[in-house]
Symmetry: D2
Subunit: 349 residues, 4 copies
């Protein structure tokens, strides 16, 4: 029997409509590097969805590349970027930020989130320090939404962080690799809220229905200049840019991005309930498509015979944190089958 997979949200290909549109336009000839009409159409649709007509939109290929290119473009040579210790750029990008010459200034993570008080204190302390010229200046703030741990900032928290950044004159950059899932889980914050609270952010495609692709939205034109040559320099400028354009055009036509994102949340909530109903405890209480549980090792071993998922860190003595991820295409059948498997294991023991 084929196993069930809940390892990550980049295991499948793209939404079928994307595959259809890529195929339908496949033999057309378009100019390169994003200067085609599909990319232009996608940029328009995204600006409308953000209610930010003056924004600039760029399409890059993947998350690590987008983070390092944007952050390198924003920072001055003597500056670093503030992030939570658990932030993707601080942990899981093989030092991509440092490879561009900049320090990640790590602040405490509160279930994946930065706290505005930590942020404010850090910046104040920096400028209060008499030897601040020998220290790395905070030049940007990086947050992700949802965070590495699936958690979400409340609107109030996000507003406070944004306000702090503006008061301190430090750009706020939001990594939205899973932005669709956050928007679906927390209707309190809309895409246009994101656009108005951040200086630059990206809308993740790779994990939300595309083959690959991240749409960078720059709402504060002051912070980013000469971005295209930098994207090229970072090896992040796709020759056949229209492939990115067609994907985002599809995702932002008829609210597809919004609609397919919802499925991941619905299935994640079912998945969470199944584990809780079967007596397992949450490792973190995540409202999004990544779900974290503390499972007994013996149960993990049995479950892994039929289901793939990630251990979250190294194995504990008796229990271990694990991560289950749903996506835009997770089906009721998969969730039901998972429940049945758990039932069976429990009955056997």
């Amino acid at each position: 029997m084929e196993k069930l997979h809940f390892d990550s949200d980049y295991m499948r290909g793209a939404h079928p409509l994307i595959m259809h549109n890529l195929t339908a336009t496949n033999m057309e000839q378009t100019p390169g590097y994003g200067s085609d009409q599909y990319s232009e159409k996608a940029r328009q649709l995204i600006k409308e969805a953000c209610q930010c007509p003056e924004a600039r939109v760029y399409f890059l290929i993947g998350g690590t590349q987008t983070n390092s290119t944007v952050i390198d473009a924003i920072l001055k040579n003597h500056e670093g970027v503030i992030a939570a210790t658990t932030g993707h750029i601080n942990v899981h990008e093989s030092g991509a930020i440092e490879a561009t010459g900049h320090k990640v200034l790590a602040l405490p993570s509160h279930e994946g989130k930065l706290r505005v008080c930590d942020l404010e204190n850090f910046i104040d302390d920096f400028y209060a320090d008499e030897s601040y010229e020998h220290m790395v200046a905070p030049g940007a703030v990086y947050i992700s939404y949802p965070t590495e741990l699936g958690t979400l900032y409340t609107k109030e928290e996000l507003c406070e962080i944004s306000k702090c950044c503006r008061k301190k004159n430090i750009p706020l950059f939001l990594d939205g690799a899973r932005l669709g899932y956050a928007l679906a889980a927390n209707p309190e914050i809309s895409l246009s809220d994101i656009a108005s609270l951040c200086d630059v952010f990206y809308i993740g495609g790779t994990k939300v229905g595309a083959l690959f692709g991240e749409a960078v939205v720059v709402t504060n034109p002051e912070i980013l200049h000469h971005f295209v040559p930098l994207v090229k320099q970072h090896g992040a400028l796709l020759a056949k840019g229209r492939i990115l354009g067609i994907q985002f055009m599809t995702l932002f036509t008829d609210r597809l991005y919004e609609i397919i994102s919802r499925n991941a949340i619905i299935q994640a909530m079912k998945l969470k309930k199944i584990f809780m109903d079967h007596g397992y405890s949450l490792y973190i209480d995540s409202p999004t498509n990544q779900q974290f549980f503390l499972l007994p090792n013996s149960f993990i071993d049995k479950l892994r015979e039929l289901v793939t998922f990630e251990l979250w860190g190294s194995k504990g003595a008796e229990v271990t944190p694990v991560r289950f991820v749903t996506d835009w295409a997770t089906s009721d059948a998969e969730i039901n089958l998972l429940e049945q498997i758990i039932d069976n294991i429990q009955q056997e023991s």
Copy 2:
């Protein structure tokens, strides 16, 4: 009327078989970052095609990214990479090599090619210089095949360069962004020759039938260590790696890569003949899919009303060099229509 396009070989999507295979496997779930079975299959097929079972094969997304990641991985901190002044890395990658901290050591270009005598002299002079420790040491040799100008090394030339590199103990890296077209144009050199003469090279997919993708083949394992974290650090590790795997698996099944490459050469030779038959002169005599002519400006202006193509450099007083590019999908109809357009322009004047 839709214009005819000869601007570049990255204007269309992918070979239909690739689109078919991507679509057919679209809803499958596979592990990420190239650890899937399609990528593994593609690696096997490429190693067979190279007759180099012990090679290591990695899939990256685009040319600039591949060049800078491989070169950064090969070079030591104090070293630079030798290239022809016209080399892509020296001219058209927005300083991607330098952004990784390394100098491009530019040697004279002979219609796009490095000469082994220049190479040998440069290396000898370097070590003969008493202040060589204050200079950038040659740490790798970069050539492309075909070159930026569509030209090809002869087998003898390539063997000499390879021999020189091995004598001097300097890795030879071959940029094969258009490798298929070179192999089709010059049967004297096979893929397994390339594998045995170079230490590392890549097989271009973006310009030869894929949506995107470059297959890096490392035949000398000594020169490259810890490549995966470096690929990640460079933002060049595709999450859904299987998309690269499926594309190269398709291209290297039933010799598709070889077969579709031939078309570009056949059409390019027809295209060359048309221009020559109509009295226009070659700017460079290229045997591959990029063709360069010296055209009168008045003719260029008329032609551009119906056909798109690149001016090669800035406009001259009366004549200007131009580039026409064919690809794996260029049709007889397109070539015939081009001829007709040229006929018409000549008859009108």
Copy 3:
């Protein structure tokens, strides 16, 4: 009245014997970049003092430069350097390490020191993590002796760290900007112990009697290749290298480095006693030339009218940590005057 100064150990010029030798040799002509006879003599003397005849010795100008050049030379592209959160490279070098492309992997600081258990766990956890190729690999361990907080590793602690590094095959780099003061304060560890426990370290001149200069001692030749071009590339190769040679030749003739280092410790212990006898408490109990106290703000204000010293961090509500630093030239008269000033302030209030 001229104020008393205890701000740092780089406020005076050089030991008078150094000034004498620089002046005596001033009009001689010697070849550049450290190839002169004085530098050669200094290298010999240092190798003898380290009892390590096969070591390689290089002279650089200052601490930050030495740290970033050595660490850049040791690390591979995908690696970072482990350091305590309080380590100089993590805090006070304006991001010099990151500017060379490498992450500082910060571990908890225990009064400035790394603990071997933290080190071992970090390295083990790294390789146990299934996604370690997406993380920055530990490629070197940086410690300083004394630490930023004036504290010292015991011989046992240093041996354990060294043993751990060798077991894990990770080079150990010791920043000895104030090494003379550590050796004077802790006779348990000799210079030859340092040489045998570390793979590379430096003997600080700037803070211990020289105008400037740090002597890098490489005892493990495997870890560092092509160092001279890298020193040049980092802008750290002094043209008139003999100025460094003469200074270190002087410091390592007749044990001058050892002898003058002792004075700083003797005066620091007197200074510590004065504060404690007057009822002030230690912030950290440092055995070296940096002394840290917790002083009432009102007392600080009065003291600062006559004495300069550093606040250690930002001002507290009622008490604030401060740092007093002695050096090779701190005199009895200075210490006595400090005591008198403290007496007077206490009597006035």
Copy 4:
């Protein structure tokens, strides 16, 4: 017998007055990193000498370090620096510019000099190229005065280059490692001319009477921000900054820099005349302290038994270019002895 030395202008120590002042102030305590009163005094004196009261002046240690720090500070990420192919930054700094991520855009060298027409054409061609976003943008112009080959720009040439840079809005940076010798050789251009024609330049101390040190003068405050943390990041911030301050204070008191520079030119002209009178030909006709001759190899061999000097490049079949360098301290006796040695060799043969 001790040999005569004409290898370079960094073979001796410092002007005796500098040694005197360093010794006289040696035991004073001053704050670090250039915030002392001597550095402040030196900055004032230099601004007066430049007739540029609003300039900002910084002291760095050596030439390579100064070039890479200033250029890194001026350039944006996507930009490179234009220099002559023979420029020091392009040839003899071990890739220090590239190590900061920037390309050196090399233009033809005309006896070491850039021509304004080449400069203008290069910049115009860059922006005329339709793919300029894939190319490295010219972000600064680097010239040296005197050049690597000892030659000098005329005032007209320098004015034209300056005018071109301002028209194109590209900062002009002048490397004045040997500036004193240029000013002494060409009274047509004064220090205040340099200050008004360049955006940033430096006054070399290392080769003109100091132990070491380069004074960076920024006359266009727009081009350079946050320079101190960058200097620190580059490892170029001397802890005991007053040592630089005292040296430049001495050099710019009573026009010492100007006076001692003249000696090198006077002696260089005598030296040139000796070689020409003895029938040897010039390799380049240099008006400054570096003199280049084409000497027969047999003569070189005999001369080298008694005199040290540099071969300029690799040895020719019969004749080889050589370089002789005078400095601020070259004596009549040395020049006379050189003449006598040449006489003797000629008589013997």
